[in-house]
């Protein structure tokens, strides 16, 4: 423990703490922009500078380690003046002056610049706005970059490189021309971007956001000739209430369903239904591969960010991936065939919309291998925006149920939204299908939680099934390298985003350690509260097989529910 004096009071702080951490413990808020928990220290924005007794110049709180006896002033007049001047400089180059851009910005409501302005107490902007005149990057199906709003704090660069282990962004040039860009300025859609959208969570401004589909969705909702069905992913229900002011992890499934009906969707369905379907198909595939000496380990295919990652970086492992489409795409395929036929809806009038915690799903829906299954993909954020625009006070609504038949799901489907969930759901089903016995303990604790890589071995009738789980592409890469170096697994679940889908790039802002933890807790509580907790017990899925698909792995199922992948390289 070291003793330091912060703003006149003495504190004991752990050795190795930064001034920023120490001030946090003392409940003193120091403004930051380039700092983000979990990323390396950049020391660029300098908003966190503080006065240290005996030092001529101000020092950044994020990058300065506490020393014994340090006397620190975090908000002295000198510090305040410098911060205000500094903030004026930032504002002057942020493409906001006189245009009221704030109002149209994706981060309207949760902009970190505004939050910083609030702490700094800025009351004038004397500097002229110096716009940079860059053009927007609209090359990606998932994400748009508006470089004029970028303050070059480098958080997206560090997130992509340090957490996701990819590094599609770089700082280029220097001086006033310094910009964040991609390889050869090609744009995010033309490089090895996985569309995971984690960069959006790191961006303190509105320089990064998803490609909006909500305007298209309004159009089809307002078109009486269209029959519009919507599906909602498992992780959306535990996050959708956050933009309405609820605590992270507040579950709002029923209210969300009610709100979707009020928005005008003709049928409100659940992606969870096809999550159960996925387990039937993928479980069958796994058992078949184990029994017939197929290629192992089997790798899951639900996360489109992960799919694009393997296509770029480990194309030689593509044969390991399950041929199953993701639950989103399975839903689209079933809706456009079975549902349309059963209800006599002409395909040209049927519109399938999905609500996903994910930005990569927008790209997935446009993949040529399965184009047309899903028409529009909304992120959780976009749905919240639509509900707000419609004037709906969502949290005050009575809960409503999903429509049938694609609205009923097991608890196993709910946990798809958390890292380890697909693994656990698959184990629940595989165990019973292989052994024919009832599984007594349904909770597989060893694949739960936020640890980067989780490994578990389950004894099924004497067969030791070894499973691996990785979330966040940085961890995924590590697990891939373990496979390549010869470690043997049967089944591996991979999710592009930290925490799994609940931490997806399309989730409400902020998405951080705290919100991830709370959303995860909520997901497992939903599962626990359900009577039906195994995918193969979902009688509606059984009915779909009986009515239409035959049995898992059938020719029909393959036609509709399975796909193939493309090696892309870097």
């Amino acid at each position: 423990m070291l003793q330091v004096n912060i703003d006149g009071k003495t504190y004991n702080v752990n050795e190795g703490s930064s001034i920023l951490e120490a001030a946090g413990k003392a409940h003193i808020k120091i403004p930051t922009l380039c700092y983000e928990e979990g990323l390396s220290i950049y020391g660029g924005c300098r908003l966190c500078v503080v006065e240290i007794e005996g030092e001529r110049l101000l020092q950044p709180a994020c990058a300065t380690e506490i020393k014994e006896g340090m006397v620190i002033k975090t908000h002295s007049p000198k510090v305040q003046e410098v911060r205000r001047n500094l903030f004026e400089l930032i504002i002057a180059s942020h493409d906001i002056s006189c245009k009221l851009n704030c109002l149209t910005c994706s981060k309207n409501g949760n902009c970190e610049l505004r939050q910083a302005a609030d702490i700094i107490g800025i009351n004038q902007v004397r500097l002229k706005s110096r716009d940079k005149g860059y053009s927007e990057d609209r090359s990606s199906y998932s994400i748009i970059r508006e470089p004029n709003k970028c303050i070059t704090c480098g958080r997206c660069i560090r997130k992509c490189e340090e957490v996701q282990g990819i590094g599609i962004f770089t700082m280029a040039n220097r001086g006033p021309a310094t910009i964040v860009t991609t390889f050869e300025d090609k744009g995010m859609g033309n490089v090895e971007c996985t569309n995971c959208g984690q960069c959006i969570h790191s961006c303190p401004t509105g320089a990064l956001h998803e490609v909006y589909h909500y305007e298209n969705v309004w159009d089809v909702l307002n078109d009486p000739s269209k029959h519009v069905v919507v599906q909602t992913a498992p992780a959306v229900r535990v996050a959708i209430s956050e933009p309405f002011g609820a605590e992270p992890g507040a579950v709002a499934t029923g209210q969300m369903v009610a709100a979707l009906r009020r928005l005008g969707f003709d049928r409100v369905f659940d992606t969870n239904f096809t999550a159960d379907l996925t387990i039937m198909e993928e479980g069958t595939e796994l058992i078949e591969r184990i029994n017939n000496g197929g290629i192992l380990p089997l790798l899951t295919s639900c996360s489109p960010g992960w799919i694009k990652f393997i296509e770029h970086f480990y194309p030689d492992l593509l044969p390991n991936i399950s041929s199953c489409k993701s639950p989103q795409q399975m839903f689209g395929a079933v809706a456009k065939t079975y549902y349309a036929e059963k209800n006599n809806i002409p395909l040209e009038d049927l519109v399938v919309v999905s609500v996903m915690p994910c930005t990569a799903k927008k790209f997935e829906a446009r993949r040529p291998e399965m184009e047309g299954d899903v028409d529009f993909v909304l992120t959780t954020r976009e749905l919240a925006r639509m509900i707000k625009t419609a004037g709906i006070d969502m949290l005050a609504l009575e809960e409503e149920e999903y429509d049938n038949l694609m609205g009923v799901s097991s608890g196993a489907a709910d946990i798809f939204g958390a890292t380890g969930g697909v693994m656990e759901a698959a184990l629940r089903t595989a165990y019973e299908l292989i052994t024919g016995e009832e599984l007594e303990k349904l909770d597989f604790e060893m694949v739960r939680g936020l640890e980067g890589i989780k490994v578990a071995e389950i004894d099924i009738n004497g067969l030791k099934v070894k499973g691996g789980v990785a979330h966040g592409l940085g961890n995924v890469r590590k697990l891939m390298d373990r496979i390549k170096s010869g470690e043997e697994f049967h089944f591996i679940e991979l999710m592009a985003c930290p925490g799994g889908c609940l931490g997806g790039g399309g989730q409400p802002i902020p998405t951080n350690e705290e919100t991830r933890t709370r959303r995860m807790k909520a997901i497992y509580e939903i599962d626990k509260g359900k009577k039906m907790r195994k995918s193969h017990e979902n009688s509606y899925v059984q009915k779909l097989y009986d009515d239409y698909l035959g049995k898992p792995g059938s020719h029909r199922a393959h036609e509709l529910l399975h796909t193939s992948y493309t090696a892309r390289g870097v």
Binding site: E161, G167, I168, T170, M171, A172, R174, T181, F183, V570
Partner: protein, 136 residues
């Protein structure tokens, strides 16, 4: 791979092609095991590296304070007009690239002009035009 030879590798590629092509960046990224975006960003930091083809002759004019006092800006205007180029541009015939650069270390003998590897000191306007004409 010894990272200490990164700049040398860049210089070699540039000396070979006159710029650093995309395919070479890919190779470098693989050899050094770093994202290609990062290699690109590093290249773009240094003003002597180019990611677009440059002219056969790179004309560098110093306009830092000591040379500026010796009227380097007037020399620069003359050259700009003669070549029809702005800072950083290359002539259509790919013969000349013009760069206004910071101090070249001949502050006592300015204005200074570099044509590829050759340094000319005490350059006046007529001398500069003569040098350029000789290039053709």
């Amino acid at each position: 791979m010894n990272y200490g030879c990164f700049l040398e590798r860049m210089h070699n590629v540039q000396d070979t092609y006159g710029y650093i092509p995309e395919t070479e960046i890919d190779k470098i990224a693989r050899d050094f095991n770093i994202p290609r975006a990062k290699v690109y960003g590093t290249i773009k930091f240094y003003s002597m590296f180019h990611t677009e083809p440059t002219g056969k002759y790179i004309i560098r004019i110093c306009d830092s304070l000591s040379c500026h006092i010796n009227s380097s800006h007037q020399l620069l205007e003359t050259i700009k007009t003669y070549l029809g180029l702005e800072d950083g541009q290359t002539t259509k015939d790919k013969l000349f690239t013009l760069e206004v650069v910071e101090c070249l270390g001949y502050c006592g003998e300015g204005p200074v002009m570099m044509v590829n590897e050759h340094v000319y000191i005490h350059v006046n306007e007529s001398m500069a035009l003569e040098i350029l004409k000789k290039c053709v």
